[in-house]
Assembly symmetry: C2
Homo-oligomer: 620 residues x 2
């Protein structure tokens, strides 16, 4: 038994240790903030089997108060903290993957931490345990991977503080990671999150029983301070909505708990219980060191700095956030995504709609989305980088069922205008598809040999399907602008049947031509003969979207314009029209004569130009 | 000098007391949660002069950590906590109003509280001070008003916990209040807000120096616990955005503060400073009792209960919230507003856009809005209830300058369709005007003798102007539905040039006919001859909004439809058309023949009916 584990006796209710393994490292570890640890023990658990090619290993990084026991090993085993997502046939499928979950450096569940014996003094480190960083934690995890003979991880997966480890892994050991899954995390804590940690640490440090950190076997320890810190933490893990649902109806009916804390309100009895229980299983010095590691984690305070920090990575990325998470809010995940996009890294991103707050990743409510997208992402990973990705036939068939080019699009069926768009994309061009839906167009482009393809979509389910297809798709609202993309980042930006559904037409068009050297824009032509007739002869609003079952009062479209209107706007905005194709989808033919009357859909290839140019002819 | 003031020696840095006045009440006060106080002292300060009619008195209710010193009395005086808003010529103009601000019951700045001497034991009450409620605080304030000979207050004004007092005053003493201004408050704390208070109280109660509450003259007292509670409170008073702006750039550069708290981070040094300073001026037992009063405040957990609680009020209301306030979020103010609307009480409401969070009401950033609207509201109050309100000529002229019927409306000029709308409103009808802008139409209705008038508007500045005009206007987004209004609440609901700018046309129409017995809807007619021509002959999108300078790509309108389209929708949705007026605004005449071709604007009077009815003729 390792040095550190024996000293974890201070944790009163340790779980059975049957499946817990230990690795001891006798070389000293120099720490990033100074100090060194002469000897290390790492406690870890594994699930599934490492295959012969050693290319199915997933490292799971736990959050602040987690440990190595991520899941049950068998039915009689204690519950794990992520049984929901990890196990045979689950999102992280231990029938397919070899999952390793070590307790982190500085923790109190076996891996060397403040409650481990300091070989220099032969008593627990206590406050003498040095300040550690996420980088230190990751370097210790790397030692373990080396010991296990895992040269390259299929993926590193983590949420919250575990997500910080994912970010560090992917950049510190870029050649050792094929996929990075960063859930509910951030480039740095917000000042608000930092402030909560500081109050929690102060509650511990100023607890008279803290005794300068040497409280082991010396009185009750800073139980009140640690419980207060945990109560506070718990508030930040839940959303306001979740707390309302949980406690509002029976506000004045506390649960019966044995506690010295205030228990007049229901929420108070809950917090008291959480605080008291935490003290039984967690060490205050670990809490101090691990929250400090989180607070010191900092990829930079500007998009450029974060991009610089992440540009070393060579893996594929999946970033997931939760809509009501206010500890690590979605905008922080979006900062990560933006940095990755700026650095031209392959990334998918989804902000999962939920009431559950930061803790959503531990709860079943949205498992279908966050677990589904994680599973889909892992399915499409290969440790051989640059191996072309292609989803299996069943997935594609499922995805194509009800194919739909963006939830904002009014068209549901295969149409000639799609073929026209594909013809306008130069061979091998990198493509950004705005409003990509379930990824139909991108899949066709991939089949045509295009390599760098990115989709933007708003709908969670459509993103899930796209990720299943092995595509890189990020969630984004076009109306908020494309600032996540840099100038000239793509050869080609596609806006297929989407422009009529955005409010700020000029801004979106300007963004298309800023980000792409070429823009391909298709839209319904309001001046199509049948629609002219509806207004002129019958005095009715043209039902541009009638074939899709929409009416003037419920169409997703908010802008109505003709080919002539679009061309005038292009002239006015100094947009050069390079090619244009007019389509009559009713007769399924290309239109060459009088397109503003004869075509119901137009496809334009446009670019930004200072110099005037001959007007493009109508082409096919 | 009163009993309680001498015992406030425990507050080390008491301010000069030159302007502080005391009232002593020798009758015992029975408290709502049991217990009694045999004798009371109330400390208060006054500003301005009570006029002869005694009808210019405003009661100011301070928040958790405030006191009676709301503003400087003269240049040499200490700063007050609301100098920004209270003083000669300021929002709450002490040249016009007589402002009274008492320290609250249970406080520690002179009014009887836990640090006052308990006459029964001759030592400070300490923890023996009974649990108090907002109602108890208000009853003590009422004693003071009686002592000052103020029979009816022009207004009660308060923010946060002070806002709870406003809510209580208006319902407990409905005949004594003409106007209620409730800022950044709520019908009850959210469970999240409650949870923060609980952690703060636990930090005090479990501080070993709390000594069961009898720490006066007995060691340092629970200074650490109180400081922790204050740090935590401070986080909740600031928005995340404000903390980012304040601390992110210099995260690792703490201010130099003398403190025993952690000061590694800039935000930490700030919190430490706030915590340490608070201990010097506030009493922990007061903190316990006042936060408990806030946490026990509860108008009910459903809209119906809140409405029932507020229906006793007989004053005019102004409710103000701040967009980034997450302690008392805008939705809680909206619950109050909804309850008042349900109970048919006159109310204006504005959610002020700000980065400043809950503390916005103490900061200059948005003073022009929250101070401006408070001042405008006070200007239009009269202690003689039911006195007709009419703003002065200058205000009306200012408001009418650039008159605009709703920010979403495309028309800026006086038009014949407005006259048509006014003609359709039955004499004396109660009217709800959706998208009322600066209140032009409502002002005309008021001039015509209509009494019950309510406006709905989204734009802050337009609301401010409407309130200046003495109108009741609430901020609301029509696209989110009109659930704040009950069935059949108004004789008439007007939707003037607004329907074409809402997304969910059917929902808004249904709401109009649910809330009003009659709906009056005006909109531009897409099938007007000139617009037909634009599409039919020139192949261009009809520029319905061209006269206002908008184009197809930037119009606020998102729905385009003709008179015929609207009539078909009415038929389909079982909406009865009672009257219709077609207008040609270009020739400024009413159209009787072929309106769907000859009119550019239509005005419909509609109602909900199960029975079919003769189709209305085109009228004038």
């Amino acid at each position: 038994m390792s040095d550190s584990f024996s000293s974890s006796d201070s944790v009163r209710h340790a779980r059975p240790l049957k499946h817990v393994q230990h690795a001891v490292f006798d070389d000293p570890l120099e720490l990033e903030y100074g100090g060194r640890l002469p000897r290390l023990t790492v406690t870890y658990e594994t699930y599934g089997r490492l295959n012969q090619r050693r290319d199915n290993a997933i490292l799971l990084c736990h959050a602040l108060s987690g440990d190595s026991h991520v899941a049950q090993h068998d039915e009689r085993d204690d519950p794990g903290w992520w049984d929901l997502a990890v196990g045979p046939g689950k999102s992280i499928d231990t029938d397919r993957y070899f999952v390793v979950c070590p307790n982190v450096l500085g923790g109190c569940r076996g891996t060397t931490g403040p409650n481990s014996t300091n070989p220099r003094t032969d008593r627990p480190y206590g406050a003498e345990f040095p300040v550690i960083t996420v980088g230190d934690i990751v370097r210790v995890q790397k030692l373990l991977m080396d010991r296990l003979g895992i040269e390259r991880l299929l993926a590193v997966v983590g949420a919250s503080l575990g997500g910080h480890m994912v970010l560090d892994w992917a950049t510190r050991f870029p050649d050792q990671v094929a996929g990075a899954v960063a859930i509910a995390t951030s480039p740095r804590p917000t000042s608000q999150a930092l402030a909560f940690d500081i109050v929690g640490r102060n509650a511990i440090l100023r607890d008279p029983h803290y005794c300068g950190g040497q409280y082991y076997g010396n009185g009750p320890g800073p139980a009140v301070g640690l419980a207060l810190a945990r109560m506070l933490g718990h508030i930040t893990y839940l959303s306001r909505e979740a707390m309302t649902q949980k406690f509002d109806a029976s506000r004045l009916e506390p649960q019966e708990v044995q506690t010295l804390f205030e228990a007049r309100f229901n929420v108070g009895s809950y917090l008291a219980y959480q605080g008291d229980r935490f003290v039984e299983r967690f060490d205050a010095n670990s809490y101090l060191r691990l929250t400090m590691a989180m607070d010191l984690f900092d990829l930079g305070d500007s998009p450029a700095k974060v991009a610089k920090a992440l540009c070393a990575s060579r893996c594929r990325w999946l970033v997931v956030s939760f809509s009501t998470d206010w500890l690590f809010p979605p905008f922080q995940s979006q900062e990560i995504v933006r940095a990755l996009l700026t650095a031209d890294k392959p990334v998918s991103y989804c902000s999962v709609t939920t009431d559950c707050g930061h803790d959503a990743f531990l709860l079943p409510n949205e498992l279908a989305v966050y677990g589904g997208i994680t599973s889909a992402f892992l399915d499409n990973l290969h440790t051989d980088s640059r191996e072309p990705v292609s989803a299996d036939a069943a997935t594609i068939a499922e995805a194509a069922d009800g194919e739909n080019h963006g939830p904002t699009s009014i068209y549901r069926h295969h149409r000639l205008d799609y073929d026209s768009i594909l013809r306008l994309v130069p061979p091998g061009a990198s493509v950004l598809d705005l409003g990509c839906g379930t990824g139909g167009l991108l899949t066709r482009l991939r089949d045509n040999g295009h390599y760098r393809l990115v989709g933007v979509e708003l709908d969670e389910r459509a993103i899930l399907t796209s990720v299943r297809r092995g595509l890189d798709v990020v969630q984004m609202d076009l109306n908020r602008g494309l600032e996540d993309f840099s100038d000239g980042q793509f050869d080609c930006v596609i806006l297929s049947q989407t422009l009529q559904a955005v409010t700020d037409v000029k801004r979106v068009l300007a963004d298309v031509l800023r980000v792409g050297r070429q823009g391909i824009v298709s839209f319904p032509n309001l001046a199509y003969s049948r629609w002219r007739e509806e207004l002129a002869e019958h005095g009715r609003a043209p039902q541009v979207e009638a074939t899709e079952g929409f009416h003037w009062y419920d169409t997703p479209n908010v802008r109505f314009f003709s080919i002539a209107d679009f061309e005038q706007l292009c002239a006015q905005e100094n947009i050069r029209i390079d090619q244009r194709i007019a389509v009559n989808t009713e007769s399924n033919r290309i239109v060459f004569e009088n397109p503003n009357l004869a075509a119901d859909v137009a496809v334009f290839s446009v670019s930004r130009s200072g110099s005037a140019r001959q007007k493009a002819v109508w082409g096919a």
